[in-house]
C-alpha cells in the first residue's frame, strides 16, 4: 500500500511540475500576478510529493519488499541496513528519483530563500525549474519507473554490487547529484534572465550562491568518489579519467569558471553574455554526465546500472533544453550590453584568462571522453582514449591556471599594475622557486613532475597568504594580523579555496612522482622491504562476514625494527553476486599512507602480496575539502545572509578596488 502511495505521489508530482512549468511563465508574460503566484505552491507541492515517493521507496528497501522489481534486483535481506538504504540510489531508477528529489528541492529552496527576487524573475526561474522537473518525471514514469511490482515475488534479492557496499560510495552519489542538479538553478536563472532580456549586478548576486553551493557539492562528491577508488579498487589509484569520472569533472570545471565570471558581472557588469552562456553549458554538462552514466553509451568501469534505450530519452531532454536555451541565447545575447570597461592588465582580464583555461580544460576532457564514439561513427575506427592522453593534454592548462591564479587574485579591478603586483608576490615566488630547487636536489634529478608540483602547490598557498595579508590594509604587522579575524568570510573563502587547489595539485603530483611499489610472493612469516619499511606477513586466516567470506592477512609493518603498525588486508567473496573484492588495509599518515593488499595463494605456497607507500595521499582529500570549505565560507558571507543584497547591488562599485 505504501508503495502504491509512493507511485501515486510521483504521478501527482508530474502534475505539479506541469502547473509549475507552464502557468507562471504565461503569467509573467501577461503580467498576471495570480498565475505567477502559482509557481511557489506548485514548487513546494512538487518537492513534498517527490519526497513522499522517495520515502516510500526507501521504506520498501528497508523492509526488503521483494514484490518490487527494483528491490529484488538490488537488495538482499542479509545486507547491512546502511546499504539497504544506499541501495535506493545504487541503481538506475532509484538514482533518478534522487535526481528529481534534489531538483525539486532546489526549486523549493528558490521559493524559501528567493523572497527578495522580483516577481517576474522568480516566476520564470521557478517555471524553468518546473519544466526540467517535468521532463525528468516523465522520463522516470514512462521508461524507468521505480515502483513496478513483480507478480510472483522471490524469497530473496540479487544483492547490490559488492563494490558499492561501502560507506564512501553510499554518500558519493547524493553529493554528486546535489552538485549536478544545483547547476539547474544557474541554468534556470540564465534562461529566466534571457526571457526578461535583462542582466545586472543583482542577477549575478542571486545566481552566485546557487552556483557556489552546486560547486561545493560537486567538489565533495568527486572527492568522495576518488577516495573510494583509492581504498577500494586495490591499487591506490585515485583518478582514472574514466568517462563517468569525466562526466562529473566537466561540470565541476565549468561551474568553477561560472563562479568566477559571475563575480565580474556582479562587481563590474561585464562579461554578461559569456556568464549566461557558461550557466547554460554548465547544466548542459550535468545533463551530458547523466546521459553518459545512465545510457552506458561509453562503457566504463562505472556502468553498473545502465540501459542504452533510455539514453535516447535523456538525449532528447538534453537536445530540447540545450537547443532551446542556446536559441534563446542567440536571439537575446546581443541585448546584454556590457557596461564595465577594463584594461588589459586587470582582475577582469585575469578572470577572463581563468575562464578561458577552465573552459578549454573542460573541452579537452569532453573531446577525450566522446572521441571513441566520434571515431567509431565517422571513421568506423574502434579506439580508446585513456589516462596517458588526459595526463598529457589536460595538465598543461592546469599548470598555466595555477601560474596566473595568485597574480589574478591580487590584481585590482579595472586597471592593474603588473610590476607592482608581481613585486608583492616576490616572496611567494622566491619560496616556490626555492622549493623547486630543494625538491629537485633531494630527488636527485629525474622527472620534473615532483618538483614542479611541489613548487606550484607552494606558489598557490603562499599566493593565497599574500592575498589574505594584502586585505588587511597598511600599518604595523601585528595590527594587520589583528584585522585578519574581521575580514569578510568571502575573503577567507577565496584564499582557503585557492590554497586548497595548491594542496591538491601538490598531492596529485607527489602521488604520481614518488610511488613506492612492491609486488611479490610472501609465505607466512616471511618479511620484505617496502621503501623505508619492513613488512612481515604474519598470518592468513579465513573468516565469514555478514554477507561475504574473507581471507584476511595479518601484516606487521616495522621501521628500523621498531613497530609502526599492524594491518589486516582482506580479500572478500560475496557469494550472492559471486564477486571478489579486495579490501586494502591502509595506515593513514600525515606524510604517507602504507597501503597493503593480499592476493591469491600461489601454487608453490605463499600468497601474492602488494605493498605501496603513497606519499601525501591524505593531502589530496584535504585539498579538496579545503576547496569545498572555502566555497562554504563564501556562501555564508554576510552579504548572502543579509537580505539586503538586492538593495546594495544598486551600487556595484561599493567594494573598494583594493
Amino acid at each position: 500500500m505504501i508503495v502504491e502511495l509512493g507511485h501515486f505521489a510521483l504521478v501527482m508530482a508530474l502534475a505539479a511540475a506541469l502547473v509549475q512549468g507552464t502557468l507562471p511563465l504565461i503569467g509573467a508574460a501577461r503580467g498576471d500576478g495570480r498565475l505567477m503566484a502559482l509557481a511557489a505552491p506548485a514548487a513546494n507541492a512538487q518537492f513534498l510529493l517527490i519526497a513522499a515517493a522517495f520515502a516510500a521507496l526507501t521504506w520498501a528497501f528497508v523492509v526488503s519488499d521483494f514484490s518490487l522489481v527494483l528491490v529484488t534486483n538490488n537488495s538482499h535481506t542479509l545486507k547491512p541496513m546502511l546499504y539497504k538504504v544506499s541501495g535506493v540510489w545504487g541503481n538506475h531508477e532509484g538514482s533518478l528519483l534522487l535526481w528529481t528529489l534534489a531538483l525539486s528541492g532546489f526549486g523549493a529552496c528558490a521559493v524559501w530563500f528567493g523572497g527578495n527576487l522580483p516577481a517576474t524573475l522568480r516566476a520564470r526561474v521557478l517555471a524553468v525549474q518546473g519544466l526540467i522537473g517535468l521532463a525528468f518525471l516523465a522520463f522516470m514514469l514512462f521508461t524507468s519507473n521505480p515502483f513496478l511490482r513483480l507478480a510472483v515475488p522471490p524469497l530473496n534479492g540479487a544483492d547490490l554490487n559488492p563494490l558499492l557496499q561501502d560507506p564512501g560510495l553510499a554518500f558519493h552519489p547524493p553529493f554528486l547529484y546535489l552538485g549536478y542538479v544545483g547547476l539547474s538553478m544557474s541554468f534556470s536563472f540564465a534562461v529566466a534572465a534571457l526571457i526578461e532580456g535583462r542582466i545586472d549586478a543583482a542577477w549575478a548576486r542571486w545566481v552566485r550562491p546557487w552556483t557556489l553551493a552546486a560547486w561545493v557539492f560537486l567538489t565533495i562528491g568527486i572527492a568522495l568518489g576518488s577516495w573510494w577508488a583509492y581504498y577500494e579498487l586495490g591499487w591506490g589509484g585515485f583518478w582514472f579519467w574514466d568517462p563517468v569520472e569525466n562526466a562529473s569533472f566537466m561540470p565541476w570545471l565549468i561551474a568553477a569558471a561560472l563562479l568566477h565570471s559571475a563575480i565580474v558581472v556582479e562587481k563590474r557588469e561585464a562579461l554578461k553574455a559569456w556568464t549566461i552562456l557558461l550557466a547554460i553549458i554548465a547544466f548542459g554538462f550535468s545533463l551530458t554526465g547523466t546521459f553518459i552514466v545512465r545510457s552506458g553509451v561509453i562503457t566504463s568501469v562505472h556502468s553498473f546500472a545502465n540501459d542504452p534505450e533510455r539514453g535516447i530519452f535523456i538525449l532528447m531532454i538534453l537536445a530540447v533544453f540545450m537547443g532551446g536555451a542556446l536559441t534563446l541565447f542567440a536571439a537575446r545575447a546581443g541585448a546584454l550590453e556590457a557596461k564595465g570597461v577594463f584594461g588589459m592588465v586587470s582582475r577582469e582580464s585575469a578572470l577572463v584568462a581563468n575562464n578561458l583555461l577552465l573552459a578549454v580544460a573542460a573541452l579537452v576532457v569532453f573531446i577525450g571522453t566522446v572521441w571513441p564514439l566520434v571515431a567509431e561513427m565517422l571513421w568506423g575506427r574502434a579506439l580508446s582514449v585513456g589516462e596517458p592522453f588526459f595526463n598529457a593534454a589536460f595538465t598543461p592548462f592546469m599548470v598555466l591556471l595555477a601560474l596566473i591564479l595568485p597574480v589574478g587574485a591580487l590584481l585590482p579591478w579595472k586597471r592593474g599594475d603588473l610590476p607592482g603586483t608581481l613585486r608583492r608576490l616576490g616572496p611567494a615566488a622566491a619560496l616556490a622557486v626555492a622549493l623547486l630547487a630543494l625538491v629537485w636536489a633531494v630527488q636527485g634529478g629525474g622527472p620534473v613532475l615532483g618538483p614542479v608540483g611541489a613548487a606550484l602547490g607552494l606558489w598557490l598557498v603562499a599566493g593565497a597568504a599574500t592575498d589574505l595579508l594584502g586585505r588587511t590594509g597598511r600599518g604595523p604587522l601585528m595590527q594587520r594580523l589583528g584585522r585578519l579575524g574581521r575580514l569578510p568570510r568571502a575573503d577567507w573563502g577565496r584564499v582557503t579555496a585557492h590554497a586548497g587547489l595548491g594542496v591538491t595539485i601538490f598531492a596529485a603530483a607527489a602521488m604520481h612522482a614518488w610511488p613506492v611499489e612492491v609486488i611479490r610472493v610472501a609465505r607466512e612469516g616471511e618479511s620484505f622491504a617496502l621503501g623505508r619499511y619492513e613488512v612481515t606477513l604474519a598470518d592468513v586466516t579465513e573468516m565469514a562476514g555478514p554477507n561475504y567470506t574473507s581471507t584476511m592477512a595479518e601484516m606487521q609493518v616495522t621501521r628500523n625494527s621498531s613497530p609502526v603498525t599492524t594491518l589486516y588486508p582482506e580479500k572478500r567473496i560475496y557469494p550472492v553476486q559471486a564477486m571478489p573484492t579486495t579490501e586494502a588495509a591502509i595506515d593513514y599518515g600525515l606524510f604517507r599512507d602504507i597501503y597493503l593488499v593480499i592476493g591469491d595463494p600461489q601454487e608453490g605456497g605463499g600468497y601474492a602480496v602488494r605493498g605501496y607507500v603513497k606519499p601525501f595521499a591524505n593531502w589530496l582529500w584535504a585539498g579538496a575539502l579545503m576547496m569545498a570549505f572555502g566555497g562554504l565560507l563564501s556562501l555564508t558571507d554576510r552579504r548572502y545572509r543579509v537580505a539586503a543584497g538586492a538593495r546594495r547591488a544598486a551600487a556595484p562599485a561599493a567594494q573598494p578596488a583594493e
Binding site: G234, W235, G237, F240, D242, P243, A270, T299, S300, V301, S303, A338, V341, F342, G343, M344, S349, V352, A353, L356, A359, V360, A361, L363, V364, I367, G368, W371, A375, L378, W379, R381, A382, L383, S384, V385, G386, E387, P388, F389, A392, A393, F394, F397, I519, R520, V521, K571, I573, P575, A578, M579, P580, T582, V597, G599, D600, Q602, A608, R610
Partner: protein, 149 residues
C-alpha cells in the same frame, strides 16, 4: 544445480590481482619498462582498464607477451606496435597523434588560441567604445570652464 553454477562462477571469477609476481621479470629496469608499457595498453575485453590493472586472462597473456618481446630485445615502440598489430588501435590508451587523431590532440591548444584571440579582440573593442563616445566639443568646453572655476 544452483550450487554447481555458483561453484563454476567462483572458479571462473577467481580473484586475480592485476600483475602477478610470477609474471614479473627479474631485471628491474626491464620490468619497469614492461609496467610502463602495460599501463598504456587497454585490456581488450574489460571496461576501460589497462592490462596492468586488469584481472582478465587475456590481459595476463598480453602482459606476458609484452615481457617476452622486451626480453627478446624489442624497443618500447616495437612492443606497442606488436600488440597493436594483433589487437588493433583499440588497445592504445594514448591515441596516436596522426591523421584524424591530430584533431583530438590539437583541439585544446587550438581552442585556447582562438579563445585568447576573441578575448583580446573583445577587449580592444571595449576599450575603444568609450573613446568613440567621448565628450563633444561643446561638453569639453563646459567641462574646462567648470574645472577652471
Amino acid at each position: 544445480m544452483r550450487a554447481i553454477l555458483l561453484a563454476v562462477l567462483l572458479l571462473v571469477a577467481g580473484p586475480v590481482l592485476a600483475v602477478q609476481p610470477d609474471e614479473m621479470l627479474s631485471d628491474p629496469a626491464l620490468e619497469a619498462r614492461a609496467r610502463e608499457i602495460s599501463r598504456q595498453l587497454r585490456c581488450p575485453v574489460c571496461q576501460g582498464e589497462s592490462i596492468d590493472d586488469s584481472n582478465a586472462q587475456i590481459s595476463r597473456d598480453l602482459r606476458l607477451a609484452v615481457r617476452e618481446r622486451l626480453v627478446a630485445g624489442d624497443s618500447d615502440a616495437e612492443v606497442i606496435d606488436y600488440v597493436v598489430a594483433r589487437y588493433g588501435e583499440f588497445v592504445l590508451f594514448n591515441p596516436r597523434a596522426t591523421g584524424s587523431g591530430l584533431i583530438l590532440w590539437l583541439a585544446g591548444p587550438a581552442m585556447l588560441l582562438a579563445g585568447a584571440a576573441i578575448a583580446i579582440a573583445a577587449q580592444r573593442r571595449r576599450t575603444r567604445t568609450p573613446e568613440e563616445a567621448a565628450l563633444t566639443a561643446e561638453e569639453q568646453a563646459r567641462l574646462e570652464a567648470l574645472t577652471r572655476e
